[in-house]
């Protein structure tokens, strides 16, 4: 970013997370299934890892068919593949790390139980994201019924990053303003700016056209800027 005297210009891609390369998440670029995990060690772990590696490259339809038959390793590959996107949506919805993990876990458990009913008319990811959006909406309704807990969840998100007091005050105001946005706008802008998802990924998760995502993000940033500017 530089000031040319008459106005501020920005080079393409200049604004990225923490001055580094923008962190994008794609469902197929998640952590290696069964990768070094201290919680799962020993012979059983290596056997599971071996089984997961055999199915890691399989497409969704194959994995869903295996998982429907009770193959937990196939389901684990699907969880690894789509966990980042589901968690991003949940975090953007709840603004709480703990609640986001609960929502993500609940989503996958509901998916596991519902695999028998999944007919494959739509992509597995579309079905899964639909389940995730429903869980997020449920969580938001419950939080709305308990405003104190909602405020706590907001604070939970704000306290996570260190920084200078003035900067934290601004960040707090911006995150608080984001928390008051309509859910679709909040999800879109936080998935983009905090979680680092691309427009296409957000469109897939929200099940809307990319143009709608662009509008939601632009409107969200404008609303936050206006609210923080007035304060």
């Amino acid at each position: 970013m530089r000031d040319d005297g008459g106005g501020l210009t920005i080079q393409e891609g200049e604004l990225s997370r923490g001055g580094c390369v923008t962190h994008t998440m794609t469902g197929r670029q998640g952590p290696t299934p069964g990768a070094s995990d201290p919680a799962t060690s020993g012979a059983e772990s290596s056997e599971r890892t071996h089984r997961r590696e055999r199915t890691a490259g399989a497409d969704d339809a194959t994995l869903v068919a295996l998982a429907r038959g009770g193959d937990e390793n196939a389901f684990a590959v699907l969880v690894d593949r789509y966990g980042p996107m589901v968690l991003s949506l949940a975090y953007a919805s709840t603004l709480s790390r703990m609640d986001a993990e609960d929502v993500a876990q609940e989503t996958f458990l509901v998916a596991w139980r519902g695999l028998a009913r999944f007919r494959g008319d739509a992509a597995f990811s579309t079905w899964l994201y639909g389940l995730a959006r429903s869980r997020c909406a449920d969580k938001a309704r419950r939080a709305g019924a308990r405003p104190r807990l909602a405020a706590h969840a907001e604070a939970d998100a704000i306290q996570v990053a260190p920084g200078d007091p003035a900067g934290r005050k601004t960040a707090l105001a911006i995150l608080a303003a984001a928390g008051r946005l309509a859910m679709p706008q909040r999800q879109a802008v936080l998935m983009r700016d905090v979680q680092g998802l691309s427009y296409d990924e957000i469109a897939a998760v929200q099940d809307v056209p990319v143009g709608t995502v662009r509008s939601r993000i632009a409107a969200a940033r404008r609303s936050i800027a206006d609210e923080v500017g007035e304060a």
Partner: protein, 151 residues
């Protein structure tokens, strides 16, 4: 470009989502329009602040946690099924109809198990504990059958 820039144009510029031609046009406009430049600064400040927040990343431990939850729920179902079968068999023992029913159930079980093993090998493996529990649930009342007759 004489009119002011839209919020979408400014956001897409920040995200590097504009074509080269559009980006140049927007950049030229920003240089000559203080109002749009000010809005651009406000929006870029919001995006920069949000991007400085740490992302919540998925970890393999979270996958393990999800998978760990699956068998526990299925064990509950298994125990429920086995308890139901066992209770039904105990009832049949009292009615002295257990041998005929057990033979029919056993035959059906063998046929169903063979069918599943061929079409869904994964189920045959993961379902073996259930089959074992079912076998015990059926055989235990059968073992009690002579006792019931003797009494």
């Amino acid at each position: 470009m004489s009119e002011h820039l839209t919020d979408v144009q400014l956001s897409r510029l920040i995200d590097g989502d504009l074509s080269l031609t559009s980006r140049e046009a927007v950049t030229v406009h920003l240089r000559g329009c203080p109002a749009c430049a000010e809005r651009h600064d406000q929006i870029i400040a919001v995006a920069a602040t949000l991007r400085s927040e740490p992302a919540h990343a998925w970890t393999s431990a979270m996958t393990s946690s999800v998978i760990h939850e699956l068998p526990r729920r299925r064990r509950t179902v298994r125990v429920g099924i086995a308890a139901g079968v066992s209770a039904a068999m105990c009832g049949l023992v009292l009615l002295e109809a257990a041998p005929v029913v057990a033979a029919a159930l056993g035959l059906l079980g063998v046929l169903a198990g063979a069918s599943v093993a061929v079409t869904h090998p994964a189920v045959a493996v993961s379902g073996s504990p259930l089959l074992a529990i079912m076998a015990v649930a059926i055989l235990a009342p059968l073992a009690a059958y002579p006792l019931a007759r003797w009494r």
